[in-house]
Amino acid sequence: MNPTTIQEHIVEIVSDSGEGAQKCGQTFGNISAKMRNGVWTVEIIPAEIQPPARTPSGASGIRVRLGSKYITNVGNEGDLVVAFNEQVLYSRIANGAYKKGTIVLLDNRWATDPSTKIQQLYVKAVEEFRDHGLIVHELSIHEACLKVVKDPRKGKNMFVLGMLCRIYNRDREMGRNEIALTFAGKKEAIISSNQNLFDAGYQFAIDQLSEYFFDIPPQQGMGDQPMVVTNGNTAVGLGVMASGMELVSMYPITPATSASHYLADVFPACGGFVHQAEDEIAAIAFAIGASYAGKTACTITSGPGMALKTENLGLAVMAEIPLVIVDVQRGGPSTGLPTKIEQGDLLSSLYGMPGDAPKVILAAATIAECFSLVVLARKLAEAFRTPVIVLTDANLATGVQPWERPELTRDMLAPPLDQSEWNPQIPAYDWDKKTGLSQRPIPGMPNGEYVLTGLSHTKRSKVSYEAAENQQSTSMRSRKLATLQSTLTPPKIHGGEDGDLLVVGWGSTFGAIEEAVDNLRERGNKVSAIHLRFLSPLEPGLKDIFSRFNKVMTVEVNYSDDPNAPMITAENRRYAQLATLLRVQTLVDVDCWSVVYGHPLQPDLIEQALQGHLDTLNSATGE
């Protein structure tokens, strides 16, 4: 029988923590990527470190979205889920992860559990799932594994991988090889045992699930260019290495830390060092020290850490110290939702420091940009003598995607430490009046001696409280942003050049917004989207673009007042963060739709919201 060709599927594997569902999904994702499918995987992580088994709150696992197109986000409801027990599905259902018709492949071992309570729970759950519209298949997965290994708790995941590879018509040999790669370095017996489980799972699916046999053709137009598969935090780590920075100074904080974990492993190979400081303040101060001494450094953190770095960030702005700050945004305010996604740090990055503290702010829209923007950030930091904040978020941090393997070039790297003689005629801040730019002496350069200070200072870095000096130095620091903006080009419009509705986004919502826009366009709506990477300075040409649409709105994962809520008026409505910025700069009545649900925005949620706005727009114009 030939497989049914489908365009994409969303697959989940859900289990208790420690059962290897994540490794199963990652391997499945890698195989699919090698088969040139578009892939996005994201882990499902329980809130506790060791959650109790068989409980909704303990749901641990992975979602893999794969398709014939380039996949940029986690998608809507799942199509097929493999569950190691029934309880963990409850929380996924509560999160809206499934729809009527989602196929559930459930291990039926609990039906015959020695505990009658467990048996009852199992039976009840299966009923409820079916009532919910899920298509539940009770399968003897555990039993089948037992035929291959003694303890299926270790290994069931590879059995499931086999099942999935058959269901999605993956190359069987490639699957076996991927297992060998995954367990590289382990004993031969372990590898072959897992491969046997894989084979058994593959056969199991042929025997018992023949109705599910799909094929997802390779992504069109995707050539042979080399790809890598990573999450966003790893991409940040790779970006740090490729940029030639030598120091990451950090303090652990979720969801940023894994970038530093990764670097701690690999950074020394290119001469880099990860400094775990005693707190975030010391971490950024340490980085500033290194940058001052000529080795532009990077600090990686998240919300509460950003809050603590506020004062030092102001120093770096004032003293024009190049510095790269990666903020992996999480839910706020305060400790908030440490593992969840939010785009809540835009305004605090921009305006967080007392006084006037202009700096460059970039936001990564994709995992590949987690790499490339870090490389860019180091360059901008040095060229514009400024801290550069790179905003990513929990969605990018943990999402995994294949992306084009970057070509590494020498000009990505920091130039060698300049220790040549400085011309003492040139002041330490030899601001170019027009651009605000200047070159700077580095300790070790003879005749370049100057004293960096956070006090108001002259171009020779002498403390000065004179009105004219302060006005000038403040202008020069601001001017640099205008200069940078003058080198940028307007953002590309996704969709028509004019129309009814323009959606403006930034950060990790990129893929979901474009997907929603594409769907609406397919249904004949005149919707377009732009997505900003530069938030400070803003990309140019926005007002002009906005003028070509009846309505402009942002879609963001942060808080805005619902205009229809009690007490909220046009006068007091608090807007989403990018919308706030755009209103200041363009005076266009930029509306917004934003939520703080803590999870990545699903394309269909966006689609609904946009449809709502389109409907109002159409009824207003009498259509």
Partner: protein
């Protein structure tokens, strides 16, 4: 001492440095302020060592004493209140070739800077830390500092400071990896010179608490010490701070103390709290403690080719 260091003479023209080469802007401390003495001594130590001015970096926080970098003709980093130490550690982290000094105050180091203080001592990076301890907040005009004597009237405690003064030495000695702990008064130039010189020569973080005159706000504190030097206890030892002939006569009280003896160092340090006997000299030294900069600077000279190769190798592991 006056010679050019061999490694420098190889790369650059032979230069001879005079005091001028180390003197920055005119110092704007009050007259009679002890900071002047420390500054002058530091100029001399650099001159004696003939260190090229561009190779030294003076890092400070905020306070009267933290203005020191402006008065040096070397590189300087006048940072934020309480953050001198992590800034300095950062400077040193990838530039082991730089000669790093820290100027900090009792508020800057022991109050807002207490966290960095504990951890910088732990890192034991190779730098010289001068704590200008005038037992008061000078720059902000007479607020209580952690080392203000109890009952001292200040602007924040008009009825007198309410806590017993914090003993910086017992804390510092209690921090694992403390490698050089000395104490000195600003008004004895030869002893100050020898102390800073020994601190500068030490490999690791040299922590020097300088009891410093602030005649403007707390004239009485140091005047009392100058008038009754029997409250000072000079520590002597062949491995301690060399005491020039004549200097010892200014200290009626002295005690032989082996700076490698931690238990005794702790006891002597504690006597400042319990008996008001203020030790002067080298409390503790251990030159065998590893310096974090040796670790943090590893690979600082890695070639571009090697960096690219390592990044490629990293990418390889994710290749599909």
């Amino acid at each position: 001492m006056f010679g050019i260091k061999a490694d420098w003479s190889l790369d650059i023209q032979e230069r001879y440095f005079t005091l001028d080469d180390y003197e920055g802007n005119e110092a704007r401390w009050c007259s009679g302020c002890g900071d002047h003495a420390v500054l002058a001594t530091t100029h001399r130590i650099l001159r004696d060592a003939q260190l090229p001015p561009e190779k030294s970096v003076f890092v400070s926080g905020i306070g009267c004493s933290s203005r020191m970098p402006h008065y040096m003709a070397t590189y300087g980093l006048h940072g934020l209140h309480g953050r001198a130490l992590p800034l300095a550690c950062g400077v040193k982290s990838r530039r082991p070739d730089l000669d790093v000094w820290v100027a900090t105050g009792d508020g800057d180091c022991f109050s807002i800077g207490a966290g960095p203080w504990v951890h910088a001592i732990r890192y034991n990076m190779n730098m010289t830390v001068l704590v200008f301890d005038n037992q008061i907040y000078g720059l902000t005009k007479k607020q209580t500092s952690p080392t203000s004597p109890i009952n001292l009237p200040t602007n924040t405690h008009p009825e007198g400071a309410s806590l017993d003064m914090l003993n910086p030495n017992t804390v510092t000695l209690g921090i694992t990896n403390a490698s050089f702990v000395a104490q000195v008064v600003d008004w004895n130039p030869p002893l100050l010179h020898e102390t800073l010189k020994a601190a500068h020569a030490h490999k690791g973080t040299s922590f020097v608490r300088i009891i410093q005159r602030c005649p403007v706000f707390v004239d009485g504190i140091t005047k009392a010490l100058q008038e009754d030097s029997s409250r000072l206890l000079l520590l002597t030892h062949e491995n301690g701070i060399p005491v020039a002939p004549g200097v010892d006569r200014l200290f009626p009280e002295s005690r032989e103390h082996d700076p490698s003896n931690m238990a005794e160092a702790l006891e002597i340090a504690r006597d400042e709290t319990t008996k008001d006997i203020i030790p002067v000299g080298l409390l503790y030294q251990n030159s065998d403690i590893p310096c974090y900069d040796e670790l943090s600077s590893q690979g600082h000279n890695t070639t571009d080719a090697k960096k690219i190769a390592a990044t490629h190798a990293a990418l390889d592991t994710f290749a599909i």
